[in-house]
């Protein structure tokens, strides 16, 4: 998947992959993070 130039909504999970980590990854691939949030499901 080519992320460069794409807008991304990063939804993470506390016990999985948190949104900050997702956002960092996609930014490094050239995407713009328009919203990020981490959720706790317990």
């Amino acid at each position: 998947m080519i992320l460069s130039g794409k807008k991304v909504i990063a939804l993470g999970e506390r016990d999985g992959v948190q949104s900050e980590a997702i956002a960092e990854c996609v930014r490094s691939a050239g995407a713009e993070v328009v919203h990020q949030a981490t959720k706790c499901f317990v």
Binding site: R14, G16, C40, F41, V42
Partner: protein
């Protein structure tokens, strides 16, 4: 870091309490919001509630109070709610499962502001049973009073001054009064949550005083680490449940304070207690947590959708005594505390490095040297129907992956590591309570019998829920068999 032997902090004992509270499920955050949107949801909820006998015979609940060891769940057929245990005991080795009617009485006993009104006939019914409770006194029973008439209860409820308390779905047995006309921090619902948190912590503490051999009068400090943050409209989280629970438990020589760190709080509190004992500031510190009433029925929609009973029908608490080295109790290794520091980053690998590999490396241990890891211990039977996954399993696979990255195990052995060094989730989804500490008493028992040498307790806190940071937090400690 070097401490004198007598300053080593140990965990003298840990005790738990479960309260079966099906008629309070309606006041859980999720159910109450759905009922407000659609009143028919209450009938749906009521039709999926369990009896006390069913909750008592539910294997994960028995693990929580010490009737079973966590790994015993591997041999209980699933679904666990469909395979009731035979002859389950109310009082397990580590605590009890209390029925709802008696809990209403305990709420009244712990009420310092005459907010809990119980109906007179109901009061008479529970008085005899509460008199037989090993942790309640004649002084407690006086606080029950004589009760109110049904007319008095209905009058308060009708004019909006109180919320009703039911038993067996439809019988009105009491009401809970608002603490202020305009203050949401003192609404009846909020005060019910807070008082439930206090009395469950207090009863756990009373049980702990007996179990630890350290009487209430000898406790010199209390750290509260439960979910609730008490206060009023000007300072909603400023209060101190630790001291309130200590008062009800008779810890007259103690002061106390609350520790807040979302689900990290209990493990944070235990490490802080260890530090305070090691420093010589305090000798007997009770770490206590009450329940999360707001989380009753949190995932009820998933349960109802799958035509399961609503499993989030219990309130949970615990109390643990941290004291000076007695030469027997397991030691909190203060030289192996894991901390998720601010600059650590938020990837799971970074978090696990901070919580697991770094502290173990400091004391020269490998990941395989820890017999058991206690992480988020939420019962998967509660979380999976709503799509929240198996939280303990996720964490154990991550720890196993760290062991594989470090070359301690091969990739095909990931599941074996997770199975051997982990355990099935068994804790009710009572927020902070589920984070590692439900295994404390089990670990202590295994260490006393020589079947276990060490366990690591690690917890993560969802700081981002408070909307002031995107961060989470994490903390861990190693508990080791006393080698004195």
């Amino acid at each position: 870091m070097h401490f004198q032997t007598q300053q080593l902090p140990v965990i003298r004992a840990t005790r738990y309490l479960l309260v079966h509270a099906p008629d309070l499920v309606r006041y859980g955050s999720k159910p109450s919001r759905e009922i407000e949107r659609n009143a028919a949801q209450l009938d749906l909820i009521n039709s999926h509630l369990r009896s006390y006998e069913e909750a008592l015979a539910y294997a994960p609940n028995q693990v929580y109070v010490g009737g079973l060891y966590p790994d015993d769940l591997k041999s209980v057929a699933v679904p666990w709610f469909g395979h009731a245990l035979e002859n389950p005991a109310r009082h397990g080795e580590f605590g009890e499962i209390m029925p709802e009617d008696e809990f209403y009485g305990v709420l009244r006993i712990g009420d310092s502001f005459d907010m809990v009104w119980l109906e007179e006939n109901f009061t008479a019914e529970i008085r005899t049973r509460l008199a037989a409770h090993p942790l309640l006194t004649a002084e407690d029973l006086k606080k029950l009073g004589d009760g109110k008439s049904l007319g008095q209860l209905n009058e308060q409820i009708k004019k909006g001054a109180a919320i009703p308390l039911y038993l067996n779905k439809h019988r009105l047995v009491g009401c809970f009064l608002h603490g202020h006309d305009e203050d949401p921090a003192l609404s009846a619902t909020r005060l019910l949550e807070n008082l439930a948190c206090k009395v469950i912590a207090a009863l756990s503490l009373r049980n702990l005083n007996v179990a630890s051999g350290i009487p209430a009068q000898a406790v010199d400090f209390i750290l509260g680490c439960g979910e609730e943050a008490i206060g009023d409209r000007y300072n909603p989280g400023g209060g101190n449940l630790a001291k309130a629970a200590g008062e009800m438990a008779g810890c007259v020589a103690a002061s106390g304070v609350d520790i807040k760190d979302f689900c990290c709080a209990p493990v944070q509190a235990l490490t802080m207690a260890g530090g305070l004992v090691a420093s010589g500031l305090h000798s007997n510190i009770a770490v206590v947590a009450g329940c999360s009433l707001a989380k009753l029925g949190m995932k009820y929609e998933g349960h109802v959708r799958k035509d399961m009973p609503i499993l989030e029908d219990v309130l949970a608490g615990f109390a643990s005594m941290v004291g000076v080295n007695d030469g027997q109790s397991p030691v909190i290794r203060l030289d192996a505390i894991g901390r998720h520091n601010i600059g650590a980053g938020s990837s799971q690998q970074s978090i696990m490095e901070k919580l697991v590999t770094e502290p173990l490396t400091k004391i020269g241990w490998k990941l395989c040297d820890v017999d058991k890891y206690a992480t988020e211990l939420h019962n998967p039977e509660v979380t999976e129907p709503s799509g929240s996954g198996n939280v303990p399993k996720t964490n154990y696979r991550m720890i196993a992956a760290m062991a594989a990255i470090r070359g301690e195990i091969s990739r095909p052995d990931l599941d074996v590591f997770a199975d051997t060094h982990g355990m099935p989730g068994f804790s009710p989804t009572q927020g902070h309570i589920a984070s590692a500490i439900p295994f404390l008493a089990h670990a202590q028992k295994k260490m006393a019998s020589g079947e276990m040498s060490s366990a690591m307790f690690l917890a993560k806190g969802s700081l981002f829920l408070g909307r002031v940071t995107q961060m989470s937090d994490g903390v861990s400690f190693v508990l080791e068999k006393n080698r004195a």
